[in-house]
Every structure is written in C-alpha cells, then in structure tokens.
C-alpha cells in the first residue's frame, strides 16, 4: 500500500483491483461512482478521515467490492482475476516506461530549445517518443478489453491525481486550479489547429495561417469539433483512464509541436522566403533538376566570346520566368539584415556558404563561376566585375511562381 496516497485513493484503488475482471467500460463507470462515494463519505467524516475510519464506515475494500458485485449481478470474482495476465502486465510495463522515456526526451528537448534555440532533432525525438507511448497505451487498452482486466491506470497518473488536493490547499495552487478550467476551450481550439498543422508539416506544405492542402479549412472545423467533444468528455469525467492518458499524450505532443513551431527558424518563417527546408522542399523538386536528381542551384551563361554574362534573365517556352528555386545565396543582406532576394530568373546568382548549425549567418561569396569570368580556351581577358553585393530588387509578382 502506497502511504503517499490519500485514504480515498487507496480505498478506491483497492476496490478497483478487486473488480478488475469486470468489463472495462462498466468498470470505469463504477469506479467513477465509487470515487465520488468515498470522497463524500470522507467529507462527512471530516477531521478524522483516515483509512481506518473509512473502512469502519464502508467495510474493507474487498467486502465493499464483493457487495457491489453481487448487487450489480456480476459473476463472483475468480480468485486470480485481479492478477493481470503476463502479456497485459508486460504491455502495462511498456506503456508506463514509454511514457516516462517520452517525458525525459521532452525535458531534454525543452532544455535544448531553451539553450540553443534550434532543437529540431531533439524535439522530433520527443514527439517520436510520445507516438511510441501512445502506441503502447492503445495496445494496453486493447489487451485489457479482452477480459482479464486490471487497474488500467498509469501509476504516474494516479500519483498526479493524489497530488491534486495538496495543490488545492496551496493559495497559489488553488488560484491556478480555479483559473485553468476557464482557459480550456481556447486550448481545445488551439490543439485542433496544431493537429492540422502537423498534417501540413508531414506533407511539407506552407503552414500559415493554415496548411496549403485542399480541404484544410474543412478538416480544421472537424478537428475543432472532435477536440471540443473530447475536452467536454474529459471535463465531465466520462473518459476511461486509458482514454484520458491518450488525450494527455496528444496534448503533450501538441504543446511540443507548438514550441517547435514558435522557436525553430525553418518553421517560423513564411514560405514566401526560399529556404532549403521542409517548407520549400516541394518547390525544389518542381524546379530544375539534373537527370541525376541534383537540384540546379545556379546557371552561368557565357557569351560566344567566352565571357561570363551577368544579369541574364531566362524564360521558358511559355514565357514564364525560369527559376531553379533552389536558391543558394544569402537570404538577408549582410550589413543591414534586410531580406535580399534577387529576381528568381536572374542568373548567375550570388552564392554563399552557410554555417547554419553553429551560427545562423550566411557569408556572401558573390558570383563564383565554375570556370572564372572567361571560359578556358577563349582569348578574351575582359573581366566582368562579380558583384559582391547584389542590389536587392523587388520581385515582380509575375516573376514568382
């Protein structure tokens, strides 16, 4: 018996264990009633609300369970019914530990975000961790459905619940406990939006204010309805413990995604800027690609006399600006920090070297033709001045795709 649990939680847990073989849905309802019952009896007992006093009033948990069972018309408990089968027990162990591992990964990701501001890999790992946890929770839930039920509540959740009364007693904690429910509907809307955004991230589409795939607004409305429905179910304590654990996992994943979206540079940028990241990824593949699959990032036209041509604008057979889209130059002006995007069909383009993982700055290398300013084998020695600083030019609407 865990002595840190309140008398109510201890009693309810014992009743739960004794009724563990009942159908899962019935059991969840019954335990909800029993919890309410025990809490009211404890409230009546007032000051001397101890486990002993509770048992004097209601009988031992096992007797209470047996009386309830026979009055409800369920078959009597088999002696070993409370002991979960080995498969269920190992799934339960996996579920418990995967949630704990996911929590640790989340902590690491949050620290990483806080200290480096760029934590794609750790956040992705944490989200993966929560997916694994959700998988085992579902497995546990399914395993428990096939008879041989047991107390299907994560030990950690039980502990958290037992801490709630303690929090209520604290003046600051009480204020939090009272305020949080008022904010719930806002959170239900937000998490629905995050779910839709996750689909957008998965497909690599633009993200703000909604992902750009067909039907996204309809899907958002559907997600909001589901989210609010789940939220109201949780608010009225009608969820089974595994269901609430799953919703918790979803909530944690949503919070992580939100953090990731708000701090990681590639996702917080609008897709209007061409960054070599997930958002513009489909554009790269739609652009010019060499037959070996390498994206073409630049073109260097040379004239008949062998001299490099600069500021050349290219169009395709339909008169559309030809852009290769995998822009390799600096996106911001080195000195002013202003966005710097040449007309997309203008060649050759300035190139740059990135040091993204260490420092976000981009070193402008100007125009670096592979053959220099004149093609080898030609006689001209006239050199065009490679412009180190390409003047930022407003991009005409038509120049964009």
């Amino acid at each position: 018996v865990n002595t840190t649990l309140s008398p109510a939680a201890t009693y309810v847990d014992a009743v739960h264990a004794a009724l563990a073989d009942l159908p899962a849905d019935d059991l969840a309802d019954i335990i909800e009633d029993v919890r309410d019952h025990v809490e009211q009896v404890l409230a009546e007992l007032g000051e001397d609300a101890t486990t002993g006093a509770l048992e004097e009033r209601l009988g031992k948990p096992a007797d209470y369970a047996a009386e309830l069972r026979s009055a409800a018309g369920y078959p009597p408990a088999l002696s070993n019914a409370a002991a979960p089968g080995r498969p269920t027990r190992s799934v339960r162990w996996l579920a418990t530990w995967s949630v704990r591992v996911a929590l640790v990964l989340t902590t690491v990701a949050l620290l990483d975000l806080f200290f480096t501001g760029f934590a794609d890999s750790t956040v992705a790992l944490a989200i993966l961790g929560w997916f694994v946890a959700a998988f085992f929770l579902v497995l546990w839930w399914v395993a428990g459905r096939r008879g041989n039920g047991e107390n299907r509540e994560l030990p950690d959740m039980r502990w958290l619940r037992s801490q709630l009364p303690r929090l209520r007693q604290h003046p600051f904690g009480a204020a939090v406990v009272e305020t949080v429910p008022a904010l719930r509907p806002a959170w239900w809307m937000l998490r629905a939006w995050v779910a839709i955004e996750l689909i957008g991230i998965f497909f690599g589409t633009g993200l703000f204010p909604l992902p750009r795939f067909p039907g996204a607004p309809v899907l958002l409305v559907a997600a909001i309805i589901v989210s609010v429905w789940l939220g109201r179910r949780a608010a009225s304590h009608r969820q089974s413990s595994v269901e609430s654990a799953l919703v918790l996992v979803g909530n944690v994943a949503a919070v992580l995604t939100l953090l990731w979206m708000s701090t990681a540079p590639p996702l917080s940028q609008s897709s209007d800027q061409f960054l070599p990241d997930e958002e513009s990824a489909p554009f790269i593949y739609q652009g010019a690609i060499r037959s070996d699959g390498t994206p073409i990032t630049n073109l260097y036209p040379y004239g008949r006399d062998g001299r490099l041509l600069v500021d050349v604008r290219l169009y395709d057979q339909d008169g559309r600006p030809f852009d290769v889209l995998a822009y390799d130059g600096c996106k911001v002006h080195e000195m002013t920090g202003e966005p710097k995007l040449p007309a997309l069909n203008e060649f050759p383009r300035p190139t740059s070297s990135h040091r993204e993982f260490l420092e976000p700055d981009c070193i402008d290398r100007g125009i670096v033709p592979p053959f220099g300013s004149t093609l080898p084998g030609t006689s001209s020695d006239l050199t065009p001045t490679p412009s180190a600083n390409v003047v930022p030019q407003p991009i005409p609407e038509g120049a964009r795709r």
Binding site: D33, A71, A235, R238
Partner: protein, 111 residues
C-alpha cells in the same frame, strides 16, 4: 430477522421508487433510502443495484457540473424503469398481502 437479508430481494424496487420521486446521484439515493427507514441498506449494494438497473436499461444517467468538487452523475428513471417499477410494485404488493394474511391467520389460530 435481519432486514438486510430481506432487502436483498427488494432493493431494486426501493431504488426505483426513490428515483421515481426525483433523479439522484449514488450517495443521494443511499441517503434517501436511509431517511425512508431502510437503515440497514449497504452503500455498496445501492451502488451495485444502480449499476444493474442501468445495465438492464431501466435507468439513464446524466452529468451535472458542480462548482465545488467533481461533476456528479445523476441517475433517472426512463420508461423501461417506470414499467419495471410498476410491475415490481404489483408483485411486491401481492407478495406482502399474502404474507400478511398468512401471519395474521397464524396469529388468530394461536390466539
């Protein structure tokens, strides 16, 4: 004779009768049964009976939000429940009449 033994057979009727007066949550039903004079009624039996009647489709439940503490689940009679109560009450009445007559005639003979 221990009334708790008698109660076992008729707790359904008692619970249905209490709920016909007005809807109630579990502990409320326990209290009203006690107040009505069934002091031996076991808490867990009442909860079990509520569950059985609910599983039998005689009761519906709904949740009432409360400002203090958790939301409370109320039980209410539906048509099936009212029919069940009517039939059970008739059976009980006949049974009680029979038993009363039996006891009365026994008492007269003894006298």
């Amino acid at each position: 004779m221990d009334t708790s033994q008698l109660l076992k057979g008729v707790l359904d009727v008692a619970v249905l009768a209490v709920l016909r007066v007005s809807d109630g949550y579990g502990y409320d039903v326990v209290r009203r049964l006690r107040a009505a004079g069934l002091s031996d009624v076991g808490d867990a039996s009442v909860y079990g009976t509520l569950r059985r009647l609910y599983n039998a489709g005689a009761l519906t439940t709904y949740v009432v939000p409360s400002d203090e503490g958790p939301h409370r689940k109320y039980y209410a009679l539906n048509q099936t429940g009212r029919d069940l109560l009517e039939r059970s009450a008739k059976v009980w009445q006949e049974f009680a009449d029979t038993l009363t007559r039996l006891i009365d005639s026994g008492a007269k003979e003894a006298a």
